[in-house]
């Protein structure tokens, strides 16, 4: 064995920590080769910066800048212009906007568009300047442009939460306003009926000014005074309505203007919990007021029945389903702070199914790793939180790296709209230890490497785990690692194309704290038995490797390097892959079930089509036919076909009577003569009366009657 190979094996097995002190291992100064092309993000079109839209009518709460520029081109070019002409100025404008947004603080889109278009227009020819001006105007949308940085997750989630809250507030206000209006009308009507409203002065005041003098209000008042006072509100009802109105006016959940609203945004779970508890009595009071108002308006409030009932309700804890009307709380916490303070309050919020949305933001998912053992662990804390929450069954759980948040927007919206608690776990990518990789790219790398996969758990999406859990959105979901083509030039300037997987180790390689787990392989040693890490994972840890696992990385000048990975990191990469596989198993079951359900849907069972309004119950109709139940010779009516025409009833209403559906039947055949039976049969419009045999053989004229009865037997 060559000496250099032996030294590589020594590194593989022992890592540099054993050889040198880990703390001062020099930074690698490399980035994964697959990230080589993404150096200056401002020159690329991707999901950021994102515009947080503030117009209430906007179809979504946010949109990537790229999409807005595309829409602006459409709008600006709409007036018979050629949209293709707009491509160049629009892209220039977008680039300018990206550069401005990347530079710093979030700003209104319109302001940035003005600045960018103004700058480009200087020195541009007249047609271009005009196009820029149109684009600028098309971009004058009420929105804020924000970059993917440490502040982004809380900003975006808060923005979405707010837009959902606003909609809710509008609906809530509508409910309350309507109740207030109707209750007010009850009082107003009562006032109009009162003696006070019948005085000459009141009558005069109620009349318009023009014809006032044409009326004698004294006489009118005298006339009205003679009317009895009827239908006045009882004092208890009046008091109840007034008290209800007072509660509706003073409530601070979504209050009318002038009343200070409660705060629903918190930076700490315990504070949110305390606020919720403190407001419970107020919530119960308001819920009761709404219920009382509804009953009063419907005229359904009955004191003997409802007074006691409401006493009891006020004492009991409110029904959680009733909370849907109320605002939801939002808590944005930093994962590290949460860990320091403990999970108790968070767990209580979630387990209590309280109306709360919690954003847990992690800036560093490799942080917890070095817990003394020197082990590299990835996203352990987030995993612990989300699996706990999923175990509670009623919590909407969403996990995503910041880079994925825009794509996950719809799900995020669902989480905000969900009636119960939601936990949103986001990796921001804004890690202090990432070696020159911007937050967006770092967050994307975490998701790409399966270190922080995106997933959603929607409790209402189906009856079981498999239907509720989704991994949608992860890159190349079916594979262990996403694989991408890497094209480069070798030392002889020959083009080489390679399929390269992006693994956990690639992600870890961006973090300068773990430089000691990597070692560059000098170009002279590239002949040594090296293999891509992804291919080395199935080997037993204890075996001496035939080939040493390595990664392809690049330096600042985009020169290719091979970097060896030590055995500990290989082990961790394997764990990451296994964890991903187990997640996928959940998702796969879901797909399988969906496929099976699809087959079922294609062939609905015959029974599903059959029942309908006119279908009689399937009990054997032949045997149930009335004829067989009745002694032969008894008179009868096919009641179901009776058209309620009154003919038979007119003949004899003791013999014939209506049933509960107002259809005739023979209640007492002995209450009349055979003649009456025959006459009824003859006058029946639908000929459904069957006279049977005569009961009294002595009845006069039987022979003729029997002949007349013939057609109805």
């Amino acid at each position: 064995m060559h000496a250099e190979v032996r030294s590589h094996i020594a590194f593989y097995l022992t890592e540099k920590q054993a050889l040198a002190e880990a703390a001062d291992a020099p930074p690698l100064g490399l980035r994964p080769a697959l990230l080589a092309r993404y150096r200056d993000l401002a020159r690329l079109r991707y999901d950021y910066p994102v515009a947080l839209l503030r117009e209430a009518a906007a179809p979504a709460a946010f949109a990537p800048l790229g999409a807005l520029v595309a829409r602006a081109v459409e709008r600006a070019a709409a007036a018979a212009d050629d949209p293709a002409r707009y491509a160049a100025p629009a892209l220039a404008l977008e680039l300018e906007l990206r550069t401005l947004a990347a530079r710093g603080t979030p700003a209104p889109l319109a302001t940035l568009a003005d600045a960018a278009a103004g700058r480009l227009a200087r020195g541009a020819d007249a047609p271009t300047a005009e196009m820029l001006d149109r684009l600028r105007r098309a971009l004058a949308i009420d929105a804020e442009l924000v970059e993917c940085d440490a502040a982004l997750p809380a900003r975006l989630v808060t923005h979405l939460w707010q837009s959902v809250q606003q909609r809710k507030a509008a609906a809530f206000r509508d409910v309350i306003d309507r109740l207030v209006l109707k209750l007010g009308e009850i009082l107003q009507a009562d006032r109009a009926r009162s003696a006070a409203a019948r005085t000459p002065e009141a009558l005069r005041a109620a009349m318009g000014t023009v014809d006032r003098d044409a009326f004698d209000f004294e006489a009118m008042a005298q006339l009205l005074a003679r009317l009895p006072e009827r239908g006045a509100l009882s004092s208890s009802r009046r008091q109840r309505i007034e008290a209800t109105l007072a509660v509706l006016a003073a409530q601070r959940f979504f209050p009318a203007s002038g009343v200070e609203p409660y705060a629903f945004r918190f930076a700490d779970c315990a504070d949110a919990l305390a606020a919720f508890r403190e407001r419970l009595p107020e919530m119960a009071k308001l819920a009761r007021a709404v219920a009382v108002a509804r009953l009063e308006i419907e005229g359904e409030y009955s004191e003997p029945r409802h007074d006691a009932l409401f006493e009891r309700i006020l004492g009991a804890a409110p029904d959680l389903r009733a909370l849907e009307l109320f605002p939801h709380y939002l808590v944005c916490v930093d994962a590290r702070a949460l860990r320091a303070r403990g999970h108790d309050a968070l767990m209580e919020l979630l387990a209590g199914a309280l109306p709360v949305k919690v954003l847990v933001q992690s800036d560093d998912i490799l942080e917890e790793t070095l817990a003394g053992t020197g082990q590299v662990a990835f996203g352990a804390h987030a995993r612990q939180l989300t699996s706990m929450a999923m175990g509670m069954n009623e919590v909407f759980v969403l996990q995503a790296a910041a880079s994925h948040l825009v794509r996950a927007g719809e799900r995020l919206q669902l989480a905000m709209e969900y009636s119960g608690p939601a936990l949103v776990s986001v990796f921001s990518g804004a890690c202090a230890h990432a070696d020159g990789v911007p937050p967006y790219l770092y967050a994307a790398a975490a998701m790409e490497s399966r270190a922080f996969p995106a997933f959603a758990f929607e409790p209402v999406a189906g009856p079981d785990r498999a239907a509720q859990f989704s991994l949608a959105g992860n890159p190349q979901e079916a594979r262990d690692w996403p694989v991408h083509r890497l094209d480069y030039e070798d030392a002889e300037h020959q083009g080489v194309s390679e399929e390269v997987a992006f693994t956990l180790a690639d992600f870890v390689a961006c973090d300068r704290r773990y430089a000691n787990h990597f070692e560059r392989v000098p170009r002279a040693h590239w002949g040594a038995p090296l293999a891509p890490l992804a291919q080395c994972l199935d080997r037993q840890a204890k075996d001496l490797p035939e080939k040493l696992p390595c990664l392809l990385m690049v330096d600042d000048a985009n020169r290719l390097h091979k970097v060896m990975v030590d055995e500990r990191l290989v082990r961790e990469t394997r764990r990451c892959r296994d964890f991903w596989r187990s997640l996928r198993a959940l998702g796969a079951r879901r797909e399988r079930d969906a496929a099976r359900a699809g087959v079922r849907d294609a062939q609905p069972p015959a029974a599903a089509q059959a029942p309908s309004a006119m279908e009689a119950p399937p009990a054997a109709p032949e045997t149930a036919a009335p004829a067989t139940e009745r002694p032969a010779g008894d008179p009868y009516i096919e009641t179901a076909r009776c058209s309620s025409c009154d003919e038979c009833i007119q003949v004899n209403n003791r013999m014939f009577a209506y049933d509960e559906n107002k259809q005739a039947r023979i209640v007492d055949p002995n209450a009349g003569t055979y003649r009456q039976l025959v006459e009824a049969a003859e006058s029946c419009q639908v000929a459904i009366i069957h006279p049977g045999k005569p009961r009294n053989p002595g009845e006069p004229g039987l022979e003729g009657l029997l002949r007349r009865a013939e057609p109805f037997q």
Partner: protein, 320 residues
Amino acid sequence: MTLSATECLLQLAEERHALEEYQSGVPRWCTGCGDHAILAAVQRLCRDEGLRPEKTVFVSGIGCSSRFPHYMRTYGFHGIHGRALPIAEGVRMARPDLTVFVNTGDGDCCSIGAAHWIHAVRYNMDITVFLHDNQIYGLTKMQASPTSPRGLKSNTTPRGAYLEALQPLTVTLGVQNVSFVAQAADWIPESLYEIVKAAYRHRGFSFVRIVQRCPEWLPKQWDPWLHDPKRILLLAHAQGLRPGPELARAYPNQIEHDPSNLDRAREIASDADLIPVGILYCNPDVPCYEDLQLGTRLRTVDYVRAGLEAELDKFTVWPQ
């Protein structure tokens, strides 16, 4: 958005009524008149659907059939000849919480009220309309109506009606925004009830033509159909109604008809020989006028006053 607690409380207060409790007074219709059957079916509907008498209103015009509201212990409006529909529309706009039914005769709807009829179909308000079509003016003692068949001798057509009858179904099916059209016969109570129920449950303008016998003035008019059940054509469909076995035995002539097929509905309705019974057309997606027209703004007293003031200010003449 509702508070579930209120729902429970309202449920608690819910009351059920027996069929007789929807009955008011004694109908003055002739014995044997088809209107009795319609009344029975509608009362059954009220009972089975739990309609609250104080939340239900029957509106009618003038005619024998238009006496209907008198016999219902609900709210009612016995209107003026031909104007049942506009009155019902007004009720619907002012009191969207009420369930509105209209009973109208062939004279009331298709003659003097024809203009209102066309527009009511187009407005598609949530109203259930029963056209009691006995092909005659009953109340005024036998004058020809627009639906009287050609050749019918009456007090106004002693030599027989000169014109072909107007077909209420094809007219309704030809109007823009039509959303529900069905036909029933008063003497087939099982299907009459089911059709009345489907019409009530449809949200929109549900138009049910009920072929109604007038034994007083046209006693033999429907005999050919009464005596030959094969001339009744039952319309069956999974999306419509499906006749039960008893009914199917009594009326063996049955076809599959998809109520979303408007062209086919028009064809079926044009058949002069058979009486199709069932749902001819149903489209739940046609928007209701009240949904389109009602603003989202709450009409508070102040809001209405401000609007009126603004309008009136346009005509103010300020002193120089």
